[in-house]
């Protein structure tokens, strides 16, 4: 009630006033934050291209990318042209850490991401300003709420031969490889399908429609979120790891048991 511990009345202030004020403050700041942060792409909403964003992107590009991709993005011996690759390409390549490229090898490998999402958006906006290219899709197409059965079927037919049925990755020719697909951000999966990075074929919207791409993303999400029913999955690499396991742990363990069994008791 409105009695303080010492027995005096606390006046007009309701004892729950403090709690109410705190809640009000929380809602206010949270709401304000949500409202203003809509502009900053959390990789869940496409960025809005403004002059400022394009300028910032140009500066970032000149500083980090132009040495290989040319001062106007025209490409050089060290890197292909980025004219026409679109903002989606930039989001994929830089967002997964593949770019800036490191030492040359059979292909650009995934590394630690070097830029924040706003910076990536900026570079993407500048590249998009050079020439039309693949842009960001409607977020509903990478929400991962599609048909998981159709997605799995499409994945098996179009993706599993390189990436393995469980997305564990696989070998390509001459030291190249298709990377594993676990815990990849949905927008990057979408970006890879549309832009066809390096050896990967291009899956345009007439090959896999945006809804079908969402179905594939849904299946990958299912793989990420579902526990392996049989126990530890040993890398989902199939009979090779299973065979290795049974020889080393199974047979090895039983030989250890046999040695114990036939050893002299003390």
């Amino acid at each position: 009630m409105s009695r303080s511990p010492a027995g005096r009345r606390t006046g007009r202030r309701h004892p729950f006033m403090g709690v109410a004020l705190l809640l009000l403050g929380l809602f206010a700041t949270g709401g304000l934050y949500a409202a203003t942060s809509a502009g900053i792409a959390q990789a869940s909403t496409p960025p809005v291209s403004t002059e400022a964003l394009i300028d910032q992107g140009e500066k970032l590009f000149m500083a980090n990318c132009a040495s290989c991709h040319g001062m106007s993005g025209e490409g050089s011996q060290a890197g292909p042209t980025v004219i026409g690759v679109g903002a989606l390409s930039v989001d994929y390549q830089v967002g997964t850490g593949r770019m800036p490229g490191a030492a040359s090898g059979p292909q650009a490998a995934k590394k630690t991401v070097q830029f924040t999402q706003p910076q990536i958006d900026a570079m993407g906006a500048w590249v998009a300003s050079l020439a039309p290219g693949p842009g960001f899709p409607d977020p509903k197409y990478y929400a991962g709420d599609g048909d998981v059965a159709l997605g799995a079927e499409l994945f098996r037919i179009n993706c599993a031969m390189c990436h393995n049925v469980a997305g564990a990755g696989g070998a390509l020719t001459e030291g190249k490889y298709a990377p594993h697909l676990r815990d990849i951000q949905p927008i990057h999966v979408y970006g890879a399908m549309v832009t066809g990075p390096q050896s990967m074929p291009v899956f345009n919207d007439q090959n896999l429609t945006p809804e079908q791409k969402n179905d594939v993303i849904t299946y990958l999400r299912y793989l990420d979120e579902t526990p392996a029913v049989g126990g530890f999955s040993l890398g989902s690499l199939g009979p090779v790891s299973e065979g290795l396991f049974i020889w080393l742990i199974g047979l090895g363990g039983l030989i250890a048991v046999a040695i114990w069994l036939t050893a002299r008791s003390n």
């Binding site: 599993a160 564990a168 070998a171 490889y177 029913v229 065979g243 048991v257």
Partner: protein, 536 residues
């Protein structure tokens, strides 16, 4: 006939009386006591390497038990239905009944996935144990007379086990095993003259057809297990008749067996080991996924998974296929000879036939017609051990080739580099393995000789009055020394004319092989050498 246990009625409890009555009842109808007399206190020697065959036997029993459970829920039909089970990513997908029931076992029957995993892990262990057991028998020379026939029986068991494994993992009709069947179809089709016809007979028409899974099912649950059980019975009977070999040791001779009796020690250990093997398999099956068929999807000739390999024991054949260089095919008189398939098939066929016939080859080279019941230490038969090492290396190169793409991705190599290296190793590695193993065996034999004659280094350094340091060598006990002394050595055959006064080609070949086998040898020690050595 009176019950000989009657007079003990007064001083035994009711449990014992019942057992006595039951034993008498059975004996009067089956002569059971004769069997007990013959086998009850049979002696089995105790060494861990003698238990590898038991691992195989017990995993086979686990296979029978878990397999029987699965047969109550699995249906091999290839009729296409729409999946209505509880695994969401396959809901509504068209698949064969065989695949659908395998999914039901995994997701909708309690303990079903566990039994599937127990069954498959046990199968991998079964073949692995047979392989290692066979290697033990080879490297200890336990295939020598009187056990040559049991070697052939065991070899048949190995082939049957592989066939059972292959037919078994093809039953779920999933993408991975279906592609395996596709490869088998391609291999069958490559056979001259009869290939396409055989493929048609096997699949009941064009690949994949609707007959092959039910046919593999019949092979897997009826024909092959029946043949295997019968062959296994012969294997065990021969083992009991010949008695087990034993390693050399004090009190152990070629004329006896030293060890524990069946009742109670050996029965307790062997019976306990069965529970341990079963328990380990069950533990692995509880914690580790095997063959997640739901990831692969139903078999369809169009999709394929990166990292397509058969189960490990078929790996050597898959690897052999991968190592062939491009373009090996020719057409003669309008008929196609796919050498790229025929060559690995022939090479593997020759390899396994050589393995099967090795005991007869070695018996011919040594000319030794005595029975051998003392197991060799591998180092005391250097050429045999080196041949075995070369064989194992040959198999291992082929086995590694089957995972060439995984080697590439995991060790950041190119598949071309991996395959090229393995192609070179195919020829070089067995030779290198032979040379290194033979030299190592001879060196170990010499080391043993040193130890017998001069004792082992004790680690105690003593300074003599003159100032030199020496390491004190401890002599072995008589019992330990005997283990190092007791082995047979052979010498190269002296070529002699036969009765007709001629030296036949056969004799020359035999002498040449005998020289290759026994030219480098370390002779056993006699008492004079021992006495001389002990005088120092």
């Amino acid at each position: 006939m009176t019950n000989t246990l009657d007079n003990t009625k007064s001083d035994v409890g009711r449990g014992m009386r019942f057992t006595g009555w039951a034993a008498n009842y059975v004996d009067e109808r089956t002569s059971a006591s004769t069997a007990v007399k013959a086998l009850g206190r049979k002696i089995f020697p105790d060494h861990w390497s003698f238990m590898l065959g038991e691992i195989a036997l017990y995993s086979f029993i686990v296979l029978l038990i878990s397999g029987t459970f699965l047969t109550f829920f699995y249906d091999p039909s290839m009729t296409e239905i729409e999946y209505e089970g509880s695994y969401l990513p396959l809901k509504g997908i068209e698949m064969s009944v065989a695949y659908a029931t395998s999914l039901d076992i995994s997701f909708d029957i309690r303990g079903g996935l566990l039994m599937r995993q127990v069954h498959h892990w046990s199968a991998l262990l079964f073949v692995a144990a047979i392989g290692l057991h066979m290697l033990r028998v080879f490297f200890t020379g336990a295939f020598r007379k009187p056990r040559e026939l049991n070697w052939i029986v065991g070899f048949l068991l190995f082939i049957l086990a592989m066939a059972l494994g292959f037919t078994g993992y093809s039953l779920p009709d999933d993408l991975l095993s279906g592609n395996g069947l596709r490869i088998i179809d391609g291999m069958i089709k490559s056979f001259p003259v009869v290939g396409v016809w055989f493929s048609y007979l096997f699949f009941g028409g064009e690949f994949p057809g609707t007959e092959v899974i039910p046919r593999l099912y019949v092979l897997h649950i009826m024909l092959l297990p029946a043949i295997l059980i019968a062959t296994l019975a012969i294997h065990m009977v021969l083992l009991v008749v010949n008695k087990h070999t034993q390693f050399a040791g004090p009190g152990r001779t070629n004329d006896n067996v030293v060890g524990s009796p069946v009742l109670p020690v050996f029965a307790a250990k062997a019976g306990g080991f069965f529970f341990l093997v079963f328990g380990v398999i069950m533990l692995i099956a509880s914690l580790f996924t095997i063959n997640p068929i739901w990831n692969y999807g139903p078999y369809d000739p169009s999709p394929v998974s990166a990292g397509t390999q058969p189960d490990w024991y078929i790996g050597f054949a898959d690897g052999a296929l991968r190592l062939i260089p491009p373009g090996l095919e020719f057409v003669a008189f309008g008929f196609t000879w796919p050498i790229n398939i025929l060559l690995p098939t022939v090479i593997l066929g020759v390899f396994i036939v050589l393995v099967a016939l090795y005991p007869f080859f070695e018996a011919w080279v040594t000319g030794d017609k005595r029975e051998h019941h003392i197991a060799d230490r591998p180092r005391n038969a250097p050429t045999r051990t080196a041949i075995g090492a070369a064989g194992v290396t040959f198999y291992a190169v082929l086995w590694a080739a089957a995972s060439s793409d995984l080697l590439a991705t995991h060790f950041a190599l190119s598949i071309e580099g991996v395959i090229g290296t393995l192609q070179a190793l195919f020829f070089l590695a067995p030779v290198a393995a032979y040379i290194i193993t033979k030299r190592t065996c001879l060196a170990l034999q010499r080391k043993d000789r040193e130890i017998v004659l001069h004792g082992y280094e004790s680690g105690r350094i003593v300074r003599l009055p003159g100032g030199e340091y020496i390491e004190v060598h401890e002599q072995l006990s008589d019992y330990e020394r005997w283990k190092l002394l007791d082995y047979t050595e052979y010498q190269p055959l002296t070529v002699r004319p036969n009765d007709k006064g001629r030296i036949t080609v056969g004799t020359r070949v035999r002498a040449g092989l005998s020289r290759w086998f026994f030219e480098d040898r370390v002779l056993p020690i006699d008492t004079k050498e021992l006495e001389d050595a002990s005088k120092h």
